[in-house]
């Protein structure tokens, strides 16, 4: 066997025209596949770091029938679940995963860290022992102890003395004692570095968005646990003597595996890319099969001699298999090298929201994928080559006179080329759709100006900006910052808001007094000058001013969407809305903007000043959202460092989370599209080049096969144009077939992508047609070049060689 393989190796080594394109083709497909497998393995398939993680479930609430991610409960309901459920061996609660906390370490430097609040039950359910020290105890929760758990990464960053335990950290202005360092492998999306006791979050039984995670008890199925939760929910409703809120059809208790809940959002884009790269991989296999078939056709004489000498026909199949195996090994090795080089770039360009990117790498589990991948490539390539191989007419082949009716035609090779064109068209159409979607998003009418604008996010988690003093201190900070920055040269306008435009903000419930009409709306706390800075038109009434302060009549500006929702054709100005125990007079209607992100249109939104907002609202906003500071002017985008220094000087307790131009904020919103586009376009272009190469190879094969025929035609007086047309025509026909089939197959592929696209529509059709035609031109060029070469045959020479 070794001798046989060595012989095939030597043979392949003498055939660079087969080996180099085949290995290059496979390297392209394999590198893409390895990169995707590394992403999928690292993000989706690597087990969660918790023991028996498959028994961990989110016990959540389904707000809508189609909802796949579990939502949170009220604090009351969460407490009932934790205390009354018997389906879980351990169960706990948490809230605000991903919130920003202001932490001041031993170095006195305030920094913003990602954290959450949780109870002792959550850590017990997760089952991961602490790296050092201990987790929360029930007493810590009951007594609302000022204790904290920090991640090993944060402990290193803070350079804590000794083992880091028992040290005091100031978190949001309060002192906490570090009682435990989380295990090195601890991970909780999105990269939580700090855990505080649950009730330190300031929630009472009226709090919302409390999540529950439980570990299923031995012998209890998920279905049984979910049934128990449903009955528990009904029992709570009966004991309360009234229907539970949100008890609409299709809503209710749901149990979802923890892994699915944490990693689910990443699954769709990754699976889409996996599908795309699988197409590229199949296309590479087609190319290899085509090349092997061409080589086999050229070596028919050799095969005939072997058969004449008594070789079993299976030996020929074995030769094809071995050749494909060796070529696959070469392709995999080259692909591995390319993937190793490109993977860091792919990870760096990946959307921020993709979890566990730090675990993505070419490690043993990824390498283990190479075995089935290699086998699949080998079997597909060999299978196609064997199916396409024509049976040998031994006598004729040995006499050198084998020339059936169709000569050495190879229908399978044509099918493969058509298949290649088809697959490349599908990939290019997908890339085009993503590009089109991205362009639409980038061109979205925002409803406000973004040029010459610098933004900063300031973390106001410190206790000074919480509780009763929240409103006063926040207003003072804004006034100080705006006052100073306004005087800088090249700065024309400065304003602050509770959230940056295009980011999610506070939701609150408003009611139209005297009616039962109420709704949850976006609430933005903004400084005077906010609308002027954004150049957001006030359609009716006036904007908020410095005169709208504490003690004066509570007033609000609402957007058109909110006006439509509550007032329809009724007069809006001077109408009243009830919120947080106060009646607010509507003094203006602002034009709709994209408040939340580029994808979501204008939501009903109201704007009030910090100075008039209820202190508890300002406190909550400061806890959950960083204060957005926006400055505009010709020098604004260059004022980043000066802005940071000003904040450090005026409010050293306030960390600056980020400083970036508004254009970058918008660009960040397109990161998923850009990531998909770069990968899909790369796959599509590779596919197109592979297809063009495959077509050219087949036409070259045809040219060689028809060399004598072309010589005869030339001898009979055929003009060069006819010869070119004769050779090119076949290529164009196969290309056209591929384009048509590819176009048709693109429809279901685009449908699979639809959820990731922004407002796909008929406008895409023209773009897709353009791309298909452009691909056709590339293919036609490959065919034309081969045709030109065919017209250059010298008949005297060709016929003499006969």
């Amino acid at each position: 066997m070794i001798q046989f393989i060595a012989k095939r190796c030597r043979r392949l080594a003498r055939r660079p025209r087969l080996v180099l394109p085949a290995v290059a083709s496979l390297a392209v497909g394999c590198s893409g596949m390895i990169i995707l497998l590394a992403l999928i393995q690292g993000i989706l398939l690597n087990p969660l770091p918790y023991p028996d993680a498959e028994r961990l479930y989110f016990a959540g609430w389904r707000f809508q029938p189609a909802q796949t991610q579990p939502g949170g409960h009220t604090a009351d309901m969460a407490r009932h679940i934790v205390e009354d459920s018997r389906s879980f061996s351990a169960i706990g609660r948490f809230r605000d995963a991903g919130s920003g906390y202001v932490l001041t370490g031993p170095d006195g430097h305030a920094r913003s860290v990602t954290g959450m609040v949780a109870d002792h039950g959550l850590l017990e359910a997760l089952g991961l022992p602490p790296g050092r020290g201990r987790h929360f105890s029930r007493q810590d929760i009951d007594q609302q102890a000022s204790v904290a758990l920090i991640s090993a990464r944060l402990a290193r960053e803070l350079a804590l003395d000794g083992d880091g335990l028992d040290q005091t950290l100031r978190i949001d202005g309060q002192a906490y004692q570090v009682i435990g360092i989380l295990a090195e492998s601890f991970w909780f999306e999105p990269n939580v570095d700090l855990i505080l006791p649950l009730d330190r979050g300031g929630i009472g039984d009226q709090g919302h968005n409390i999540h529950v995670i439980g570990r299923l008890a031995d012998g209890v199925s998920a279905r049984a646990a979910e049934a128990e939760l449903v009955s528990l929910h009904e029992a709570v409703g009966e004991s309360a003597g009234q229907p539970l809120p949100d008890n609409r059809p299709g809503t209710g208790m749901m149990l979802a595996p923890l892994g699915d809940s944490l990693l689910g959002p990443a699954e769709r884009p990754l699976m889409l890319l996996l599908g795309a790269v699988a197409l590229l991989m199949v296309l590479s296999c087609f190319n290899v099969a085509n090349l092997v078939l061409a080589e086999a056709t050229g070596a028919r004489g050799e095969a005939a001699v072997e058969l004449a000498l008594g070789a079993h026909p299976a030996r020929l199949a074995g030769q094809r298999l071995t050749d494909c195996l060796l070529l696959t090994a070469g392709g995999l090795a080259s692909g591995l090298l390319i993937a190793w080089l490109l993977l860091p770039l792919v990870v760096a360009g990946a959307p921020i929201g993709l979890p566990r990117l730090d675990q993505v790498g070419i490690d043993l589990p990824v390498l283990a994928w190479l075995i089935p991948l290699g086998l699949a490539v080998t079997l597909i390539s060999t299978g196609l080559a064997l199916v396409g191989q024509r049976s040998l007419n031994l006598a004729q082949t040995l006499r050198g006179t084998a020339s059936g009716r169709g000569g050495e035609r190879s229908p399978m090779r044509r099918v493969l080329v058509i298949g290649q064109v088809t697959l490349s068209i599908v990939l290019l159409v997908l890339a085009t759709m993503v590009a089109s979607s991205m362009q639409r998003l980038a061109d979205t009418e925002l409803g406000f100006a973004t040029d010459d604008m610098l933004t900063a996010r300031l973390s106001l988690g410190d206790a000074r900006y919480r509780e009763d003093q929240a409103r006063l201190r926040t207003a003072q900070l804004i006034e100080a910052l705006v006052g100073e920055i306004q005087a800088w040269p090249g700065i024309e306008r400065v304003a602050a808001a509770s959230s940056l435009p295009l980011t999610r903000g506070l939701n609150n419930f408003v009611v139209l007094p005297g009616t039962d009409r109420g709704a949850s709306v976006e609430v933005r706390l903004v400084s005077p000058g906010y609308f002027e800075l954004l150049e957001a038109p006030i359609l009716k009434g006036r904007a908020l001013t410095a005169g709208d302060r504490d003690g004066s009549e509570p007033v609000m500006v609402i957007n058109e969407a909110l006006a439509r929702q509550f007032f329809d054709s009724e007069p809006v100005l001077d109408a009243t809305l009830f919120m947080d125990g106060l009646n607010w007079r509507v003094i203006g209607v602002a034009a709709d903007q994209r408040e939340i992100n580029l994808r979501i249109g204008a939501q009903p939104t109201l704007f009030i000043t910090h100075a008039q907002a209820q202190p508890m609202i300002v406190s909550a906003v400061n806890q959950w959202f960083p204060l957005a500071l926006m400055i505009r002017g010709p020098q604004a985008e260059a004022a980043g460092n000066r802005l940071r220094q000003a904040v450090e000087r005026l409010a050293p307790e306030v960390p600056v989370e980020s400083i970036q131009p508004m254009s970058e904020v918008i660009a960040d919103q397109l990161v998923l599209e850009r990531f998909l586009l770069v990968l899909l376009a790369s796959f599509g272009i590779c596919a197109l080049l592979l297809s063009a190469t495959g077509l050219f190879g087949l036409l070259e094969f045809e040219r060689a096969r028809r060399r004598r025929e072309m010589a005869v035609r030339i001898a009979l007086g055929a003009p060069a144009g006819r010869i070119v047309a004769s050779l090119t025509g076949a290529g164009l026909a196969w290309t056209a077939a591929g384009l048509i089939v590819g176009g048709l197959l693109s429809l279901p592929a685009v449908r699979a992508l639809e959820e990731l696209l922004h407002e796909p529509g008929l406008a895409d059709f023209g773009l897709v047609v353009t791309v298909v035609l452009a691909s056709g031109v590339v293919m036609a060029l490959a065919a034309f070049i081969s045709g030109l070469r065919g017209a250059g045959v010298r008949p005297a020479e060709a016929l003499r060689q006969e």
């Binding site: 169709g406 010589a711 007086g717 055929a718 005297a796 003499r800």
Partner: protein, 261 residues
């Protein structure tokens, strides 16, 4: 078919040199030749003497290195590739040793082929002329067969029909019997005789003296030059003497010569 008294072929001091790497091979030198309308000429000589090279130049498949070539009264040295293709199509009919029928086309399609490269001929006219041509070679009963379904002799008859269909000024036959057994070979020669009798101008390359004798005028070539019959016999005798000296014994009665390729 041209049957006037003018020269169909006029070659003056024609030479052909092949350059391969640093080797210079003189395939033809100082060729002067005229072939008149209605003539039946054979060109014979040993392998490598330049017969096929000369025929390729005559058929505009190759170009001379030096010298003048007039075909049917027109100088052809300065013509473009496409102009040469047009003249080839109208003035020359080729018959190859290996038949060179196109395997993907039927008999009738093969014969129609030269006409498809002409303008102003309808499909019906093409079909009629191809049928007539096939009838002349007695192959009209195999219209829809593919070349692989025919014997060698039949394939060559179809090739002759294809050469005739365009009514060329001259038929160029390169070893037309080379791939045939003697019976089929003789039939093809008889067919060429019939065509000549009907007025066709034929120039045939053959290494076989028996078939060369079918022609009314025989030209001999040796080492790229045209020689007369006596010179040819003298050169052959000298060559045989040299080989006998090398072998140290007389040659066999039958002289063997490799089939040219």
């Amino acid at each position: 078919m041209n049957t006037t008294d003018q020269h169909i072929i006029e070659l003056e001091d024609l030479s052909k040199v092949f350059f391969t790497d640093e080797v210079e091979t003189h395939a033809l030198s100082g060729i002067h030749l005229t072939i008149d309308a209605g003539e039946y000429v054979s060109i014979s000589g040993p392998s490598g003497c330049g017969k096929s090279t000369l025929l390729s130049i005559l058929g505009l498949l190759d170009s001379p290195t030096t010298g003048r070539y007039r075909l049917n009264g027109h100088g052809v040295e300065q013509l473009s590739q496409s102009e040469q293709a047009g003249i080839r199509n109208r003035e020359v009919g080729f018959i190859f040793q290996a038949f060179n029928l196109i395997g993907d086309l039927t008999v009738i399609e093969n014969v129609e082929l030269p006409l498809t490269y002409r303008t102003g001929i309808t499909a019906r006219q093409r079909r009629e002329r191809a049928l007539a041509s096939l009838e002349r070679v007695d192959m009209a009963h195999r219209l829809n067969h593919y070349p692989s379904q025919l014997s060698g002799g039949q394939q060559q008859r179809v090739a002759v029909a294809r050469a005739l269909v365009g009514e060329p000024a001259i038929l160029l036959a390169d070893e037309p019997t080379g791939n045939l057994d003697s019976r089929n070979g003789e039939q093809v020669m008889l067919l060429l005789n019939e065509l000549h009798a009907a007025g066709a101008t034929i120039c045939m390359v053959t290494h076989d003296p028996r078939y060369a004798s079918f022609a009314e005028r025989q030209i001999y070539m040796y080492d790229g030059q045209i020689v007369d019959e006596d010179t040819m016999n003298r050169l052959r005798a000298k060559e045989e003497e040299r080989i006998q000296a090398l072998l140290g014994r007389p040659l066999d009665g039958t002289r063997r010569e490799a089939t040219p390729t």
